[in-house]
């Protein structure tokens, strides 16, 4: 029997700019909601109703669940969807008259958008309610991650900062879902020796680990990642299966590269006349994705074929079979080596499915249905595996991540190394503030709490990653400088024993995250 331990990680950085009528980077959330999170919830709820025997784990990062629970952002998503539905109605008319090859997809997109909005409203505008319901039915195991998804190995010389990331991550999960998380997604699979002790001390039972960790470990692995790894603190690690996940992840041969699948780039936002598309893109006439995409990947050519839903579905069915075939074949190979009932840890970013790989949700659904119908597979979650009390690998592993090269090169290179000089100093100064002002309430307490909030937001792994990838660099830099600059406002004001009240009120309004934060988190003596 092959045990499938599917772990999805849903994360977006905290982006909320109510000071603007519309803000481009907020679309990251809206696109993911409409194309990944709501379709995923719809699919899982359908399978649950039909009594398909699936189980999986999902991590919702604290920044994401904060945004998903935020009323102004919920309203903005409704506005976004209404605009998308209005465009869909126009597209249905236009394609009926002018581009009949696209008509089926226009109708499909419109119906999907309407249904997603309906579900969103039905859930009280908070889709986490739906996922919690599935969790309560023991269909999914909900887990958390670091407060702002900080890449933890780089901060290991600052136990207060590590502790603050872990504690606020767990506390935010508990505040929103009403119970503590047993699983902790290591941001970017970033691990360092000693992190397991921090997690164990907070009551965490398990985390995921990068693929190369067991083979390169300090001790001899006898299960090669197909059984849990017990780390020195007693925390269990589940090792990502590179061989199987690359069937999807590979940027050269992964399923999402198939020429029949829908192309992500060719979007009417970029090519329909400005007079037509203007109300649905960003001011001033900035062409962006609208979500209405009618072409198949086809290949590296300008002449792309029109996308066919039927062809896409056929390919999904083939890829589901191929995926399970590969696991079955690997399972046989592993069993011949004496490892019974291997656990396949399949870790993916949730936004891959639906948003970046349009057919991804259908693929997941196919895998869950087909595996449930087969005697060769059973679904599990890390907590279930631990409770079975089976054989484990007891290992000491090295610092590692799932980034390029397997260490910290993405988050620490020539382009982004400068940020750590400022963040490290801010951590030291935050520690200093907890000593100088050990017991502040009221206004000064709020001021110090805001400083710790800004510091956590500056630590997000998204900013160095964006700078490394050279994509939305100016936004990432602005965010970093803004959070660190805001921190310095508090530090310099408190050094003069003053509180800048006007600034504080504005800052609290702009970052409505971690309402229960306590600046004493950064007190070194608290560790």
């Amino acid at each position: 029997m092959n045990k499938l331990n599917l772990i999805l990680h849903a994360h977006l950085p905290y982006v909320r700019h109510l000071e603007y009528p519309r803000f481009l980077e907020e679309d990251w959330l809206f696109e993911s909601l409409n194309e990944s999170y709501i379709p995923l919830l719809r699919m899982l709820s359908t399978l649950d109703r039909e009594r398909t025997g699936f189980r999986l784990s999902i991590c919702f990062s604290p920044t994401l669940i904060t945004m998903l629970s935020d009323e102004p952002l919920q309203q903005r998503f409704v506005d976004y969807m209404n605009l998308r539905i209005e465009l869909g109605r126009k597209e249905v008319e236009r394609t009926a008259k002018e581009e009949s090859e696209c008509h089926e997809m226009a109708v499909h997109y419109l119906a999907e958008a309407e249904e997603n909005l309906r579900i969103f409203e039905e859930m009280g505008r908070n889709i986490l309610n739906g996922f919690k319901e599935l969790h309560d039915k023991n269909r999914i195991e909900l887990m958390t991650t670091a407060a702002t998804h900080a890449y933890l190995p780089i901060y290991k010389d600052y136990p207060t900062a590590i502790n603050a990331q872990v504690e606020m991550g767990l506390r935010t999960h508990e505040r929103i879902f009403g119970e503590s998380a047993k699983g902790f997604w290591l941001p970017e699979c970033g691990f360092y020796p000693g992190l397991d002790s921090v997690l164990s001390a907070h009551g965490v039972s398990w985390c995921q680990l990068a693929s190369h960790t067991v083979i390169t470990a300090k001790d001899r692995s006898v299960y090669g990642g197909y059984r849990p790894v017990e780390l020195p603190s007693g925390l269990f690690g589940f090792v990502r299966d590179w061989g199987v996940t690359s069937l999807v992840w590979s940027d050269v041969s992964g399923y999402p590269c198939d020429s029949d699948y829908r192309d992500f780039y060719r979007d009417i936002g970029y090519y329909l006349p400005m007079d037509y598309i203007r109300p649905y893109i960003h001011e001033p006439e900035i062409r962006v994705f609208t979500g209405y995409k009618y072409h198949a990947i086809t290949g590296k050519t300008e002449d792309k074929a029109y996308y066919s839903l039927a062809k896409g579905r056929e390919k999904v069915a083939l890829h589901v079979e191929n995926f399970l075939y590969n696991i079955r074949r690997r399972g046989m190979m592993i069993e011949t080596s004496g490892i019974k009932d291997p656990v396949f840890n399949l870790c993916f970013d949730a936004e891959l499915f639906g948003h970046r790989w349009y057919e991804g949700i259908a693929f997941l659904e196919g895998v869950l249905r087909r595996a449930d119908a087969s005697d060769d597979f059973s679904f599990t979650t890390p907590t279930s595996v631990i409770l079975e009390n089976g054989e484990v690998d007891r290992l000491r592993i090295n610092e590692s991540s799932w980034g390029s090269g397997g260490y910290s090169d993405i988050w620490l290179d020539g382009s982004n190394a400068w940020i750590y000089r400022h963040i490290f100093k801010a951590i030291e100064r935050m520690q200093e503030l907890t000593h100088r002002f050990p017991d502040q309430g009221s206004l000064k307490g709020r001021f110090l709490n805001q400083a710790s909030r800004e510091l956590l937001l500056a630590m997000s792994s998204d900013w160095p990653c964006i700078i490394h990838d050279n994509t939305s660099v100016s936004y990432a830099e602005k965010r970093l400088r803004n959070h660190l600059g805001s921190f310095n406002v508090v530090y310099s004001s408190m050094s003069r024993n003053t509180v800048n009240t006007e600034w504080l009120i504005n800052a609290e309004r702009s970052s409505e995250i971690f309402p229960d934060i306590d600046y004493k988190l950064f007190d070194p003596e608290r560790i």
């Binding site: 692995s221 300008e302 011949t336 260490y407 750590y420 990653c465 994509t471 602005k478």
Partner: protein, 237 residues
């Protein structure tokens, strides 16, 4: 971030992107000319995606990029400019990967003045302790330097660095000392002799880390271990 794969875009899409990228004359250019301009612009940025023509590198990353759209974003309600440096003498060491550590430091005005007034110089003192043996060496650095990459071996031990003032009489004064960084220690790098008896384990390892095309994750230690296993496996045949 999703990188735009320019050679698969239509002429109108390309024109739109070219205008956003600052090529005001995009309307007068052919599709090929725009591709050439954009590729030149992206050559450093999208190194892998453009040069290798990887069509779907988008699936490997997290957010949608609107291609330099950030310049249309107004200034966030910013507050204080970040200083170029901080007035403390300190040094930090961070692991980049299995072979390199990144050190950065700052020097207070007082320490700098005192050392320069005495005609002294600065050194980055590196200590590597590996499998019981200790190696120490100094790298001369200037007063304007503030960072350095330090090469490390694999093994059982650590590396740490110090910012050292060196005086004309040869006296050394440690101004700041980093926390130690562990070296990458691997069982299999130290137990090669066991590999020939572990062929079944080798197959399990390979199953976890090899794609259907036989590709391995991009990790130098893992690749070295698998290569050593392969050689041992071959030697048995």
């Amino acid at each position: 971030m999703i990188l735009v794969n320019v050679d698969s875009l239509s002429a109108s899409e390309l024109r739109s992107i070219a205008v956003q990228e600052g090529f005001g004359n995009a309307d007068e250019l052919s599709r090929e000319e725009i591709i050439s301009l954009l590729e030149e612009k992206y050559e450093e940025e999208d190194d892998k995606a453009v040069r290798e023509g990887a069509p779907n590198s988008r699936y490997m990353s997290g957010l949608t990029d609107y291609r330099d759209i950030g310049r249309y974003v107004g200034d966030l309600p910013g507050v204080e400019e970040l200083p170029l440096s901080y007035p403390d003498t300190e040094i930090h060491l961070i692991k980049k990967d299995s072979s390199w550590l990144y050190a950065f430091w700052s020097l207070s005005q007082n320490d700098s003045d005192e050392l320069q007034d005495a005609g002294g110089s600065l050194s980055l003192s590196v200590t590597i302790e590996n499998n019981g043996s200790r190696e120490e060496y100094d790298i001369p650095v200037s007063f304007s330097d503030s960072e350095w990459n330090v090469g490390i071996p694999c093994g059982r031990g650590f590396c740490r660095v110090a910012l050292t003032g060196v005086y004309p009489n040869g006296r050394k004064n440690v101004l700041a000392l980093s926390e130690p960084e562990d070296l990458i220690e691997s069982y299999w790098l130290e137990h090669r002799n066991e590999m020939k008896y572990s062929d079944s384990l080798y197959r399990v390892y390979l199953t976890l880390v090899s794609t259907k095309e036989g590709e391995l994750p991009d990790n130098p230690i893992l690749r070295e271990i698998i290569e050593m296993f392969r050689k041992e496996d071959g030697a048995d045949e």
